[in-house]
Subunit: 581 residues, 2 copies
């Protein structure tokens, strides 16, 4: 080792010891006679002191050190006169005997500090410097700890980690695949997995009983703000279990992570039907750090001559506690916010429960005092509250109200990053109608089993069939989802039929799985957690980017290594492909 | 849970309990009045008994069960009369009260037994059935255990597991890349990593200090018997260390794995110079389970008129202990074996040290008794030994003799799979001459640092420059290799120059790394273990295929899912590529 200690471990117990440290110059303060230099490594920061007791050669050398120089320093551990009790090494300093400049540094393009002056693009280009900053490094250390704890927990429950292949087969179902031309099989392609779904099911057919994997997956989608073309899943599958077992085991995993990584003891996770989540929150992933549930108002508000409400499929409201003081300007601004194309509401109706006990709405001419009293009662509203109402097509208005609820939650400070509100959402629909292709798609994936009692509706009301599918939601973010799978060839064929596959297509793409079901497939089910997302929630971040060491930008580019990039003619010739740009 | 217990846990302590088991019918013996059925799961095998105490309906059902049917069985734990003490459940059996057939099975295409009748191709097609066999499942459980122990060991030493990207940049150095067309950046490609080399070095520049990752890597090479297009590495890198530290830490890892996974306590690993390994074993990965070192014989055998020897650059021999009794036929057969094109020797000279103490060689007319006595003395040969000699061009003859030595080791039973002989091979050459391209290539990779004292030879004798590079060899197989890296822009540029890169090419491909070296790069180095290979050695297998859940065949195909395969015109249009087949 080039050092005897790290920069994070020396304290009063080491007084008088001769030590050698290696690290980066964090900063240097030259006070004339004395120079203080902070040296940093992953483990901490240690203060060096060069003064009249230091040889003049070394003092001179100390003065030449710029920020981010890499140095090797030997010296004696002394007690500081000016102690800093906030840092573990804050009671000591090193009286320097020798400094070796291992590597100089140009002036970094941005400050290597917790709060940096570097813009996003600059930091992406110099990601290796951005990774030196404590907050980013801490995120990756948190991620490491979480992965270790996931493995510890699952290993103790007899789960086996099995690596499934990365070079697999392209299937048209689901999102777009990344493909890889095969040189040895010209004209043919591998695909990168969107998930190890079929492989983990085959492992159940093989009798592995309990499988997991922390695994990279890939989706070639247009990247929204917080998507990455490659992402990491905690992927799990179990045989001979029922839904209840999966909920218990993975609620256990989540609680284990909160306990061991964050020191937080969570209560039992509440559970909610998908239908209730949509009705009460307009979302299949409600943020339950706060209430503000939807109240449906058709009964109270229709038939009073207000045509907007009378013609609406759904009238729904929320109660923004204590917001009666909102000015007209604030309400106009909220209305404009709702009318933006991203949300698309046509207008906002409000009713103030004023401090004096009177009710005042923006549609007073249609509603009398009794009507408004009924309205307030529906929300258990109190003086000072503000009721916000949207109306229109049910599905759209629920989505809009979900956005409004979250916005009001944020404005009211009800979405604290250090509060964690987990929720299981159960009994998702099996199928969802896709306008574009004019057919039903699998809401989770084609391997999800319908509820046995709903199978009869597949022909008559496919949209009503419920699946044995569940999501784990924390603070309004889906962090995991899964289902009990089909393990029977007949039912799987039926599902493919309902998804618009011909028998030949189904056999060509998923024949291996359906064949496997004929050789003794056990009942099985599983779940997958979005590991990047889970880490970002633990780290209190809005984006997953800073829990990924080398993320890509919104165009799928790594600007640091400058990829994707062109390849040579020779490479393309060998692969027997051409670009058609 | 569908079961109360697994098939591997019931014993006399459970007598009288009513239990429910789930599993696969391993076999069924119908002895007229009594039917015995073995039910199998991952955890073991339990015997069911159906006899006159069983209801006739259930007995009839029991008779319908075929091999590999999936059943759920409820019954009472009884003591067996005919105990089988070789299996944990061998003292009990289950008197069956109820059987539910969860899933039937067609007759499997091969026997699901430890020794199967299925050929390689058939088993590959039905890999999910092959994975049911104990030996294969045990390999994957071993692999899981090894991965867990690797993480435990490295985590305890402050290593952080960081996931590096899979979609990276194609570089012409090294093996052929797999590439991935980018839809969002038409005409451009990602590449899949052959290793995370540059990223782990950047993590050192970032101050991560100690990194590891168990990670998939990819090489588009023509597959020899035991290569896979995707393979797994234990990838590690450390900063502020010297070669000695790396050897100690990873010798420690290897010993930890042998101790915890196999219960074997290994002695300190011997070390050997690359040059000595080549001289004594003709290989940079000598199998040290046995001696049979090379002895160079130019001094003894030249100048006696035997032109084959006189014209040879190198004459080298080994002593096959106790093989003096080899018949002429056996020696002819060995000679033919050596002459095959894979080895390419021109002939084999031998000298028998006969039981009566006399020496008899195949070139007796050129060598007198004294000569042969000197020859025998050079090997410390004894009566009963057989000296085998090859001559020719040094490099070729060493390779040939390496093959012969290994073959003789095998024939003499000196290569026991349960004996483990680790060896560090040190000080590899930095560069090796490539006939095809007519230039030097990096023997490890372009980031390996030359020994400082040898740098001066880069211009004069590039082939003689030694690198700070090391391999860990076990039983003749390289299981890990690494080096101290260059951390200085100037030296890295010099290396690229010697590898035939123009300054522009070097900057275009590796500019990000060389730039990073200018912002305070610490001294660093690392190692990567071939995890598949390591697992296969622990499992006592010759091939890595059976420590991989879903391997590909020699054409890079997964015959189970039938990939690679064609993709649709629409997909190619979206990706703006064409095939030119």
């Amino acid at each position: 080792m080039l050092r005897t200690h790290t920069c994070g471990e020396l304290n009063l117990a080491n007084l008088g010891e001769t030590v050698t440290l290696c690290g980066w110059v964090q900063k240097s303060r030259d006070l004339g006679g004395t120079t203080f230099i902070d040296v940093r490594d992953r483990y901490g920061l240690t203060q060096l002191v060069l003064n009249e007791d230091t040889s003049s050669v070394i003092r001179e050398k100390g003065r030449t050190l710029g920020r981010e120089f890499v140095v090797k320093v030997t010296g004696t551990v002394l007690e500081r006169t000016n102690k800093n009790l906030k840092m573990p090494t804050g009671e000591i300093e090193i009286a320097v005997n020798d400094i070796e400049i291992i590597n100089a540094s140009k002036i970094p393009p941005f400050m290597i500090e917790d709060e940096t002056d570097g813009g996003e693009e600059l930091r992406a280009k110099y990601r290796y410097l951005d990774l030196r900053r404590n907050p980013i490094r801490n995120n990756l250390m948190l991620r490491h700890k979480m992965a270790q704890e996931v493995r510890k927990y699952l290993d103790a429950l007899n789960f086996i980690e099995v690596e499934t292949p990365v070079l697999i087969k392209s299937t048209p179902e689901g999102a777009r695949d990344f493909v890889v031309p095969s040189r040895m099989n010209p004209g043919e392609f591998y695909a990168l997995p969107q998930s190890p779904q079929t492989f983990k099911q085959l492992l159940m057919v093989s009798g592995f009983d309990r499988y997991f994997q922390i695994v990279k997956c890939f989706r070639d989608e247009d990247l929204r703000a917080d998507r990455q073309p490659e992402f990491t899943q905690i992927d799990c599958e179990l045989a001979f279990i029922e839904q209840e077992d999966i909920l218990n085991i993975f609620e256990g995993l989540t609680r284990h992570l909160f306990r061991t990584v964050k020191g937080i003891e969570l209560n039992e996770f509440p559970r909610m039907q998908y239908a209730d989540a949509m009705r009460l929150y307009g979302s299949d992933k409600p943020d339950r750090r706060f209430g503000m549930e939807f109240v449906e108002l058709n009964g109270i508000m229709q038939g009073k001559g207000f045509s907007v409400f009378d013609n609406a499929e759904l009238i729904v409201g929320i109660n923004a506690k204590g917001c009666a003081e909102y000015t007209r300007k604030q309400l106009d601004e909220l209305t404009e916010w709702l009318k933006r194309p991203q949300i698309g509401a046509t207008g906002l109706i409000y009713c103030r429960y004023q401090a004096d006990g009177t009710l005042k709405s923006s549609v007073d001419k249609f509603y009398g005092e009794d009507d408004l009293t009924n309205l307030a009662a529906a929300f258990n509203a109190e003086p000072g509250d503000l009721i916000l109402i949207l109306a229109g097509h049910s599905q759209k208005v629920r989505k809009q109200m979900n956005e409004l609820r979250l916005e009001m939650g944020t404005r009211l400070g009800l979405r604290d990053k250090n509060t964690f509100a987990p929720l299981w959402v159960l009994d998702f629909p099996l199928l969802e109608w896709d306008e574009e292709s004019g057919r039903y798609h699998a809401m989770h994936h084609p391997f999800t089993s319908p509820k046995p009692e709903d199978i009869a509706m597949l022909d008559t009301e496919p949209g009503e069939v419920r699946a044995n599918a569940y999501d784990l939601v924390i603070n309004g973010t889906e962090i995991g989802g899964g289902s009990i799978r089909i393990h029977d060839r007949g039912l799987q064929s039926l599902m493919f039929k309902h998804l618009g596959f011909s028998a030949e297509e189904a056999q060509k793409q998923f024949g291996f799985l359906m064949d496997a079901f004929e050789y003794g497939a056990p009942p099985h089910g599983g779940i997958a957690f979005g590991f990047d997302r889970l880490c970002s929630i633990f780290a209190g971040l809005d984006s997953i980017r800073d829990v990924i060491a080398f993320p890509k930008n919104n165009s799928g580019r790594d600007v640091m290594i400058d990829t994707p990039s062109t390849i040579s003619e020779a490479q393309m010739n060998e692969l027997k492909i051409n670009t058609t740009v």
